[in-house]
Symmetry: C2
Subunit: 367 residues, 2 copies
Amino acid sequence: MFTLLHCDNICGARRGRIVTLHGTIETPAFMPVGTVGTVKGVELSQLESTGAEIILGNTYHLSLRPGEDVIRELGGLHKFTGWRKPILTDSGGFQIFSLARIMRINESGAIFRSHIDGSKFELSPERSIKIQETFGSDIAMVLDHVVSLPNERSVIEEAMLRSVRWAKRCKEVSDHSYQKLFAIVQGGLDPALRRSCVEMLAELDFAGYAVGGLSVGETPEEMYETLDFTTPFMPIEKPRYLMGVGTPIDILNGILRGIDLFDCVMPTRNGRNALAFTDSGAVRLRNAKHKINDQPLDENCSCPACKRSRGYLRHLFIAGEMLGPILLAIHNLTYYQSLMSRSRAAIEQNKFKDFYKEYIEKFKAGH
Amino acid sequence: MFTLLHCDNICGARRGRIVTLHGTIETPAFMPVGTVGTVKGVELSQLESTGAEIILGNTYHLSLRPGEDVIRELGGLHKFTGWRKPILTDSGGFQIFSLARIMRINESGAIFRSHIDGSKFELSPERSIKIQETFGSDIAMVLDHVVSLPNERSVIEEAMLRSVRWAKRCKEVSDHSYQKLFAIVQGGLDPALRRSCVEMLAELDFAGYAVGGLSVGETPEEMYETLDFTTPFMPIEKPRYLMGVGTPIDILNGILRGIDLFDCVMPTRNGRNALAFTDSGAVRLRNAKHKINDQPLDENCSCPACKRSRGYLRHLFIAGEMLGPILLAIHNLTYYQSLMSRSRAAIEQNKFKDFYKEYIEKFKAGH
């Protein structure tokens, strides 16, 4: 499933390839988030044009709306959404602990109320796998117990140990050969807990390993440090996925430390809020200085937003037109995919560290 | 500019062609409405895929936001929006009388307050033409005096006569050979007033003639009757445009009576409200009966919405996802363009009347 093609000989960055039933993913790769079966505001042909090779679907959201039964009746997530390329589904763990109102949580699983209408749901490791099987995603994630940071060491340790036990239960009921199961490493910001978690999960031999429990309140530096003492213990021959991350700089820092997969709502969410990513930093298009600016966001970008002037894009946001969020989501997704593509090229030439340094200097100078 | 290619020998329907600097329009044609420089929710490549050959821009809305100066600075409406095909701009007349708060109106023009922020604007026939020249549209419309219906005959007559005087003033200041100027026939539901208006305008020799002052409160039957006693007096060799119309059935009734051009917000507006047009009538996608419906809206339609199930489309609306309005706008625009294309083919074979009858029977049976 995963082939490690090349390791940069200067830093930890890796160039790899994941092969699934629905297609191939060149890594490092970025996965746009299609929360409820659509990447917000972006139609499939536009999404493909950004260069996306895999998208993420949220098991929690999809279970609430339209519900597992509807997706089953309508032929699974690929047929339902029309997206023919690979899909990764998360387990619902992160959303239960961040969005839902939990009623009870114990070793067997969680009972919670929907954040939408308060209706009651149950999720166990076995149920999460069953739902993801119904969805028919190419990569499924184990159900994990996520805790916010900072937190007491004992709480973090307990959640980590439970996550390992749940991962084992997930693996035991996962029996679809086409659907690969990734484990999730927990353990907060604690080196010993992270290492111990990686080692226990590695013994269970999953198809891939994710670093979870980050982007939950820690600083970027704490996140990078956690990767520093976690990735070296992760199986070399398996894909590594940093969940829910992040800014362009976060992603480059992940790649530098050997991460292969990323997902984040930032390109689409920031796009909806009139914020565009460029190599010179973020551009806030509502700013009056763009009013009669006839330049594109990025003259080297081939996306439809960059065929227009900044003045036009600003006008769309000021006038409250849907096309503003649409075009900026497409631009930001194109930008993220270009960042991954440029990273892959740099790794192949053992120049990722230089690329990283130049990028960060230029990005910061633009602010 | 306009070539009348063929007249159906059974009914009044005509097959024609309009040639402009930015491209050719096969008529009868439908113009999607791009109120403030974007057809709501539809990106240009998607808009082209629907088959649209010309779009409409609203002078009133564009003058308010982003303003004439911004569009001038950013190179005119084609460069501003990125749309390279023909554009028709209206004069602002209809919106002044329907949206704005009028402060004063007399022979010279209108002073009104913006419906957005209350700021004060002036519009005269000469100003309207000047603004449309700045926009650089391929077809400009004269400023007309619109009155609501029903109304007193004297009021309708006075507005009609003023509209003729204003049309003359517009023509006197319109001097861009590439930009064609269309006059607007007023006169309410009164046969004598309509005929008199057409005859006065015909003497002034405009590039095209629109029927205005309809879709303002009259019944469909009254509208069709008005066309019955108006179009026979309109110059045969000039394109005829029925402004702001309408439903698929209204449009077919217009074609039957010799109309060549239509525009309406209905495909996009109804799409945003989860209503899709099909040959079997309108489909309301929020209806629970579509929940696990795996059929497309229209199996003969090639639009991206029809590559999905009705169940998926319903889900997008229930979940409040932007892709719902986007896909349905694209579907409805594709449907309208297909209706025009089928009408053109029927006219070429002198079978428009049959096509019209069959269409209406099927459409009504679906309700």
